[in-house]
């Protein structure tokens, strides 16, 4: 088990109800971490119900849900970006 900082943005932040939290996890991959979060509470299960509509960054680099967490300190979940 180790600690990781988890960040939420945009409607994901609103559905989960907080912008970030420190999570204790045994997850090997981003997808494993999502499973752990989904199992916590209904609002997480709802927020993460459709991964195709979400993006993820590990230590501020975009990645995919099958990426290993390795030594990442920060994982961020958010909807597709709408900059510019």
């Amino acid at each position: 088990m180790r600690m990781i900082e988890v960040l939420y943005f945009a409607w994901l932040r609103e559905r989960i109800g907080l912008p970030s939290e420190t999570v204790e996890t045994a997850a090997e991959t981003v997808a494993d971490l999502v499973e752990e979060l989904r199992a916590r509470e209904a609002r997480y299960a709802l927020a993460f119900s459709d991964l195709a509509s979400l993006r993820v960054a590990l230590d501020q680099e975009l990645t995919t849900f099958d990426a290993p967490l390795k030594g990442a300190k920060e994982v961020a979940f958010f909807p597709p970006m709408t900059g510019g």
Binding site: F9, A10, Q60, P79, P80, T82, G83, G84
Partner: protein, 147 residues
């Protein structure tokens, strides 16, 4: 190469003037300015832009580095606001300076396409009817394919 992510308003003409003055041995400068406008049916009161501090600057700088290599940019400026904006406010701007005109255009379009879909900003439209998150367009994602 300058990237600024800020909540403060800025004057695009002033920024363009400063950028152009600093450019030496350049033949072409292209700028893009994005402005808040009414997109939705009911009149827009505010455009609220959320971002991911830290990642935003890194992601934009990586795009600028790629553009600099690929189109031999002599100089480049990106300014992008976050926070609450009103219709008519400038959201962001990009400026590219090159020897040849086609490179300046290509680099500016590349940066715009990537800023749209790969820089961690999220827009929320606030009207009298309520608020809604702007959804990413398939077109914007598809636009990346041309690079």
């Amino acid at each position: 190469m300058v990237v600024r992510v800020q909540s403060a308003p800025f004057d695009p003409a002033g920024a363009i003037g400063g950028f152009a003055t600093g450019c030496k041995r350049v033949g072409a400068i292209v700028t893009f300015t994005g402005i808040v406008r009414d997109l939705s049916g009911s009149p827009l009161k505010k455009m609220r832009i959320e971002h991911y501090p830290g990642m935003t600057e890194k992601a934009i700088m990586a795009m600028v580095d790629t553009a600099t290599q690929r189109w031999s940019l002599r100089d480049c400026l990106v300014i992008h606001r976050y926070g609450d904006l009103e219709p008519g406010d400038t959201i962001m701007m990009v400026a590219t300076a090159t020897a040849h005109r086609s490179d300046a255009f290509a680099a500016a379009e590349y940066l715009m396409d990537y800023l749209k879909s790969r820089a961690p900003f999220w827009k929320k439209e606030i009207t009298d009817q309520g608020a809604r998150w702007v959804t990413a367009k398939d077109d914007d994602e598809a636009a990346l394919g041309r690079w």
